[in-house]
Symmetry: C2
Subunit: 589 residues, 2 copies
């Protein structure tokens, strides 16, 4: 009989929805209890949602969060689940502000906390020690760091409890609490998906387990929150580095696993570490604990999800990000322009996978410059995916502007894209659809789009996907469909034809831009890896091309600032991940 | 004869323009040298511009910054100014990253530095100790904090040198360096304007001087950089709290002042403080220093600028922010819609004050719902200010959309605003004008605007000005004009008539919104002071009204994210100052 049955709740919270998020945890506790778990842990900020950003500076929000955790403890008890210790994540405060100095500046009054609930009350609370303040994270802005570490004794086992970033720092809280002889480390997380993150995260969890010869349980939230997509992928690893359990990526899940941690001893704890003894119902003092319902329950089945391959992970991230933006913001349908090109086809397929094709409205908006294949490819996309489909030619909408304002050149090109925006926004206003904007990361980088035209929309499903990856994802999605006997959603012609904005006769993207393979390579250096132009040239690109592309990237910042959010899937997404001035006069870099 | 003649250079740098920013410092050094100064100090990041944001994560940018400082030192010497010690601010790096842990996250590789240049070289460098990471500041994200303090001995005086935030923290660097018997504290700053900041900043400088019975010299940059407006207001205060010199707010200026600091002694410095001896040309060892040109120059005249009153300060901030956005981004003209209403009238007046009425293009775009007074008031604004003026009726532009899409209700209202946006963007594309968007802070807060309609533009001069303050500024600007015999720019009728979007017959703002006095009061509580709804009600507002307004604020976040930047003048501007999620489901707050 195992010493400890652990349950990890991979929930999908909405920022601010304290009641709804708590209800998810109650449901997980009900199932964990039924499964005979000794301990349940949910993710970082599973009660408040993550990231709460500057809500952490609002005293009333913090009071409400604290209150919600108390109510959750009472609810669990009232539901007959009071014996089960439940670890939840939440914001807490307001505390005395950290370091105001004389500056009168708003500053942190909140802590990022984990609380242990049992017997109808909040038994103990610990706060995150290391606050990430890089990439998309602004935690040093809004949180006060914790100053002590927590070990809870449950079912005869000392369980160390830390929060997300605390796991990542060498010589940090994890090593300290494990040196205090904890038998199990529980890390609660709100860790967003980034391509290849699994190549860093799992090895880290494994390293911590192996180095300390201990069990490590990592529980993460799932779901989209604005530009972030949390991928779950909760995992339990033992001291030999073996994966004992793993939850599916991106899905809500309750992971239950039987563990044999070292029993607790009564060694004195080093300073700065606090031990709290929980009520361990039925736990004999010899450490061979028995959970509430476990005596009568069989050993739990092995639950180790497989991680899908790279393309599928990316596709799923786009789908989840889109679905949750729609759902959590109260929309029921989306609308987008279908040009027959690859970007809008991929966005339509993502949207259909996210909320069902019936709720996706595609609009073909041909102009006088639209090719015959554009119209037929748009028709084909709509039919393959099965979206609601209509056609709104823009010739009669554009002509009055051209005539009244005598528009020529770029102005005449842009007014077409902007007339399309008015069509989509008009239909959105009439019917309540969320407008999706279909620009990809490459376009966004160099400003190859019409602001207030094709950039219009509330969500941008592929804004973090470079053009070359858009093609790859289209091919992957088609192959995936075909492998299970379904219709490939993306017309082959949309994938193979040369990209064109079709805002003037015979226009091709490559008239204005280098080939996309070259362009994406340069952007990988300049944007993703923050190299200077000279360093990008040193990678083997033409100096004039690099100069032109970096110039375009710099001068497009104002457009990007006004762009829709979309799911971050790369290590350097546009948006809060990459903060650069609009007003910028580069001299030598 | 005074012991030390100090010059402070209030320059207006552009982020990234290392050569141009350095040229400003060379010019200041030329004038300071001619005035016989012993020491010149320019502002924080005066070489690189401020804030550089994530440029601090680009190694090539840091290398270029360091190189630019070395070149500046050489240039000063080559110009015959090598004797004069010059303190400049700049980014430096790349250094070994701070705290990477195992996370692979991008993290700080830069320091925010002050260097002392003399004799053609960089004599010494110190780094900012306290890094602000609140409000608009993200310095903990991008900078490594300094770990030692610097005192330079110049002309027989020990001058302590710290950077901006270091001044604000009690018990911080300032107290430590002054306890080391420094005779003068020089603080270099990039401190943006905020309404009433003078009520905090000057008392702080004064308190530091009085508490330590010493001289404090505070030098700040000026000018607009994206949403920030640096106001200069450099000041020198003595140990009795007397202002010895003060530079004008918002203008480039060289402030020269004669000081009698305590002469340096040779006491041992506490650990963590470094003293560097500069070449003090002509400085006798008894401490009665004589500057290079001073022996033959008379005592400098008293230079103490008056701070204008509150309304004038705000107006100037809007003007400088607008002018510098236009100028630094290479525009020569702006275009905006003139509706006859107060917002567009005030924006036109700000723009004309910023870049001259000849470069301001106003467009009246009447619809079928536009009142006669709208047209005549728009004509009147144009004539009073003298802008370039044209009329583009939108009826023929809107009708095809209404007919083809069967637009009604809100959709029909919005298409009018969006047709106007197409007109302005079309004219912008044809002629290269920057489009100004005229929304005020109150509208932005509650989403009372049409996205991709009246929100369209690259810069929003009054985005941080609540509606009630827009009226006050209009009255102030008119009174100011009249007091000097000029035409009042804002028509009285634009100030006094009830505000209306005029998107349907007889529409008034107050049909949809509470009176602006009430609305601005609620927003002051909810937005500026981050109160919860209940706390706003406790201020005396109607609970239903508060519930409705807070709901509108929350659900308009997506629009604000896509809005133009504009000058921050309040303690809580929309934009990077207030970071809140779009996806947010409030339960109880």
């Amino acid at each position: 009989m195992p010493r400890l049955r652990l349950a990890l709740a991979q929930t999908n919270p909405v920022v601010g929805d304290l009641a709804g998020n708590s209800a998810q945890i109650v449901e997980a506790a009900r199932r964990a209890h039924a499964a005979g778990a000794d301990l349940l842990a949910a993710g970082e900020m599973s009660v408040t949602g993550y990231p709460i950003e500057d809500l952490a500076s609002r005293p009333s929000f913090l009071q409400a969060s604290r209150h919600a955790v108390e109510v959750l403890a009472e609810t669990l008890a009232a539901e007959g689940l009071g014996d089960l210790p439940v670890v939840v994540g939440h914001a807490d405060g307001p505390f005395e502000p950290r370091l105001l100095g004389t500056s009168n500046a708003p500053t942190a009054i909140a802590k990022n906390c984990a609380s242990v609930l049992q017997g109808g009350r909040v038994v103990t609370t610990t706060a995150k020690y290391h606050l990430p303040n890089y990439s998309v994270f602004d935690e040093y802005r809004v949180f006060i760091p914790g100053d002590e570490l927590l070990v809870v004794r449950v079912a005869g086992v000392d369980v160390a409890l830390v929060i997300c970033e605390d796991l990542w720092r060498d010589g940090g809280p994890v090593e300290r609490v494990l040196h205090a002889d904890a038998g199990l480390l529980v890390v609660i997380n709100a860790s967003p998906f980034v391509r290849d993150k699994d190549e860093v995260r799992l090895p880290l969890v494994t390293r911590r387990a192996v180095e300390n010869d201990t069990l490590v349980a990592y529980v993460n939230i799932v779901g989209g929150q604005d530009d972030l997509v949390f991928d779950g992928d909760s995992v339990v690893v033992d001291g030999s580095g073996t994966i004992l359990a793993r939850a599916p990526q991106f899905d809500e899940h309750l992971l239950v696993v039987d563990l044999d941690p070292e029993p607790a001893t009564d060694t004195e704890l080093p300073e700065g570490i606090r031990r709290v003894e929980l009520d361990a119902t039925g736990a004999p003092s010899d450490g061979s604990a028995v959970g509430q319902a476990r005596a009568s329950s069989p050993a739990v089945a092995r639950d180790v999800a497989e991680l899908p391959d790279d393309r599928e992970q990316l596709w799923n991230a786009l789908v989840v990000g889109t679905r949750d933006y729609v759902r959590k913001n109260g929309f029921r349908s989306v609308i987008l322009g279908l040009s027959g090109g690859i970007d809008s086809a991929v966005c339509a397929a993502v949207a259909a996978d996210a909320i069902g094709a019936d709720a996706v409205y595609g609009v073909s908006m041909p102009s006088r410059w639209s090719s015959e294949h554009s119209r037929s490819d748009a028709d084909d996309v709509a039919e393959r995916i099965g979206v609601q489909y209509s056609t709104e030619p823009i010739a009669d909408l554009v002509a009055p502007f051209e005539e009244q304002l005598h528009l020529t050149g770029l102005a005449a090109e842009n007014v077409q894209a902007r007339a399309r925006a008015l069509v989509l926004m008009g239909l959105s206003n009439l019917h309540g659809h969320l407008v999706l904007t279909t620009g990809n990361k490459t376009e966004l980088a160099v400003g190859y789009s019409t602001i207030y035209g094709d950039s219009v929309g509330g969500f941008a499903p592929i804004k973090d996907v470079p053009k070359t990856m858009v093609w790859e994802l289209a091919r992957w999605r088609n192959a995936n469909a075909e492998s299970i006997g379904e219709t490939a959603p993306i017309p082959e012609n949309s994938i193979t034809k040369p990209p064109s904005a079709e805002l003037r006769p015979d226009q091709k993207d490559e008239d204005s831009l280098p080939p996309y393979e070259v362009l994406d390579g340069i952007l990988e250096g300049y944007v993703t890896n923050a190299l200077g132009a000279a360093d990008v040239v040193a990678l083997g690109y033409d100096a004039d091309t690099v100069a032109e592309i970096t110039r375009l990237v710099d001068r497009s910042e104002w457009k990007r600032r006004q762009g829709a959010i979309g799911p971050k899937i790369s290590g350097m997404a546009f948006g809060r991940d990459r903060r650069l001035p609009i007003t910028y006069r580069p001299t030598t870099v």
